[in-house]
Subunit: 318 residues, 3 copies
């Protein structure tokens, strides 16, 4: 798995140093990322699912918001590339105390680390860091801005199941306005040639979203009809204030996806995606989450392969 | 250290995939585990105490109760087998938030991990997980149910010192009713042919315990007399409610083990075990804990070897 | 990088097992440490900045005070020597609960670890541990006593920039009375032949400090004049009680170092050091911290090399 592999079959070569969002990626970059992820997905099925590609490299997870799922996935990806990993969580971090994010990052980098994976509540924090440090920066979720590796693993999962993205109808259901997952998915799917429909309550739909080239509907039936895949967003129930709480049941009734609704309105072979963790009984019923349509656990598996591809491609780019 | 080693000298071959408790182990399995642990105990004395047996395997520590001691021991065991390790503590875990234990485990497993070591306050949690995921599950303590690796290291320590278990008299002193350590020890010792006496206040003695084939006494003198080894349980002083607190001194007076009592009532070459951490001055006096009879630090050392044996034997079993 | 390298060019051989403070080191030991650190500093610039020197050794970070910066630096150093590392933070540690520091350390050691790096609020805690366990003990900061690796990286950074220590004028500015960094630096610099001036408010100056062979001044101008390097201590603003708070601005005005003051009073090629994290605008202005004189990020980089040298030299000493 050497540097030469960092180009696609048609000769396109990876040159990007940071992964900050899907918005700035070209279609060629997306395709190369997905192809590279496919290679690593095969590595993961080997008896020893490990390659020496990043031996001696140091990758730091700087998580300024709690996230075991994404952090664990990145850590595993790094280990399977034989990199050394360090995790820094804000809560236990004196780096942060009295120190700006920039100082923190520059100090971490001064230890001669190679990559910094950052999750932060402020949109743009990864981009800001990429401008003040020399290490590669990977955005693991920055506020409501982007969550590029989540979108990559979502499209990778769809492509792996349906063998293509071009021409597919993909619906995204939930709080579109506040979701970095929705945003990154829209960018990725549109660049790869899918038709995207977004669906959710009006209060969760950003105005002007149509300008991204998506169809908008407030009716779940519409979103399910003809969809090849539906990506169901997590309702951040714990973030809602109390006055919203009566709304959870109402949300489940109108936008919650159940096996019954899938059988009634959706194509037979629809794929059901969810970034996790699931609020069972809210945005997704038990029988839908664990049913035949669900590729939710595939997403988790593929997430490691996709993150291996990201770390591998970014490494060594000056 | 290859797969062939996974059978005993008399040809018995390890087939078990999960370690959930001592209760379900056969005598042959126990013996093979202890023999394998002996091999690894010798590895630990080498200049480089490491074998490549589990290279490329991923072992996850999922600790839903705090335990640095056991977690560290498992982590070290995994590292000395060259496995990759990931630790997930509940407190920092968004896996858990709004997600069932089953979802959590299935998500972790979907990252294609090989083993899940779990500590959980609910008895049966490891068994439940073993039924819904494909990875091997190791019980690192589940409520008041079992703590199998603790019992294994206890009997291993006794066997290493006294060269046998069959026919030995072993007493267990403390809160028998609420102790998973007591339970797992009783199972292991009885299966291996020891005579077991349990001793503690009546309020800490479960009714019907005799059905496990143990002798019961409420008199420490009785428990010490003729014992080859005494396993002293930790009094969970911090779990007692305030009305119990005057009882701590009384407990120490009646059941606390001191050098004086050992000299007075016990055999000369008695072994003193404790699972740690010790409440010095409560269940064990300073001079007893650090005295000539104590094998408490041997237990800690042996714990790593025993856990290496467990991880090694379970790995690769379908 | 074998054992033979553990002596200096003039044949002096490293024999010390623990690093507890700078006070007890000989000049030869200091010189060998710095030379060894220079070797590892060069390793850090290699494409794969890793040596197999401590393969199979287990190094435990036991941090009983929060410190991501120092812990991360030690962890990286250990990983670049190919050692296995374990981190134990007090907050999450049941080792500590109801257990003395001695019990904790002896239990960790019983797992057959090779080195224990400890940060503790009690002066002398590392020395105490070194007397009750067999593993090597490294002091990563013990209350107001010493912080030897910080001083080593400080003098290493100065030596690397100015090619010598002998005869240099080095000033230390800040809360001299409560600073382990100041103390360790004074010891290291004096042993290596520098002239040391300490500077700070009278309330932060310990009486009798002159007996260590340092000059004392309460005037920053004096401390800057003729200094080849100035080591600026962090003001522990968060530790001050409220009645002191009006004093922060006053402190900044009188002892805070700005580019303007450096231009006005200091030599042109003065080095500016700070152990981090910086209170920008208090002990150091923005333009000074990021200015041409600052070697603060070099300190962070060099810290890893210095800690690699410490771990390497101590390892294997009986």
């Amino acid at each position: 798995m050497n540097r030469q592999k960092k180009k696609s079959t048609n000769g396109f070569r990876w040159e990007r140093k940071h992964l900050l969002g899907i918005a700035e990626l070209s279609t060629e970059e997306l395709a190369l990322l997905l192809d590279q992820a496919e290679n690593f997905r095969e590595v993961m099925d080997r008896p020893i699912p490990k390659v020496p590609a990043l031996r001696g490299k140091t990758i730091v997870n700087l998580f300024c918001e709690p996230s075991t799922r994404t952090r664990t996935s990145f850590e595993l990806a790094a280990k399977r590339l034989s990199a050394d990993t360090l995790s820094i969580a804000t809560s236990s971090s004196s780096f942060i105390k009295g120190e700006s994010l920039k100082d923190t990052a520059r100090n971490i980098e001064a230890m001669q680390i190679d990559m910094l994976i950052i999750r932060h509540s402020t949109p743009g924090a990864p981009k800001f860091l990429s401008e003040c440090i020399k290490a590669s920066v990977v955005n693991a979720g920055d506020g409501s801005h982007e969550h590029p590796t989540q979108a990559l693993l979502d499209v990778f999962t769809i492509r792996r199941k349906l063998k293509k993205i071009v021409g597919l109808n993909v619906s995204i259901v939930g709080d579109i306005a506040h979701s970095r997952v929705a945003k990154s998915n829209i960018f990725a799917l549109k660049k790869l040639g899918a038709e995207v429909t977004v669906c959710g309550p009006k209060t969760m739909m950003p105005s002007g979203i149509e300008s991204l080239g998506v169809k908008v509907t407030y009716d779940l039936k519409e979103a399910l009809k003809g969809a090849d895949a539906v990506n169901v967003l997590r309702i951040q129930a714990e973030r809602q204030n109390q006055t919203f709480f009566p709304g959870i049941r109402e949300y489940a009734r109108m936008f919650g996806i159940t096996k019954e609704k899938l059988n009634k309105y959706a194509k037979k072979e629809i794929l059901l995606l969810h970034p996790g963790p699931i609020n069972r009984g809210v945005e997704l019923s038990q029988d839908a989450a664990d049913g035949e349509f669900s590729v939710i656990l595939d997403q988790v598996t593929n997430g490691v392969a996709v993150r291996m591809a990201v770390l591998f491609l970014l490494s060594g780019i000056k």
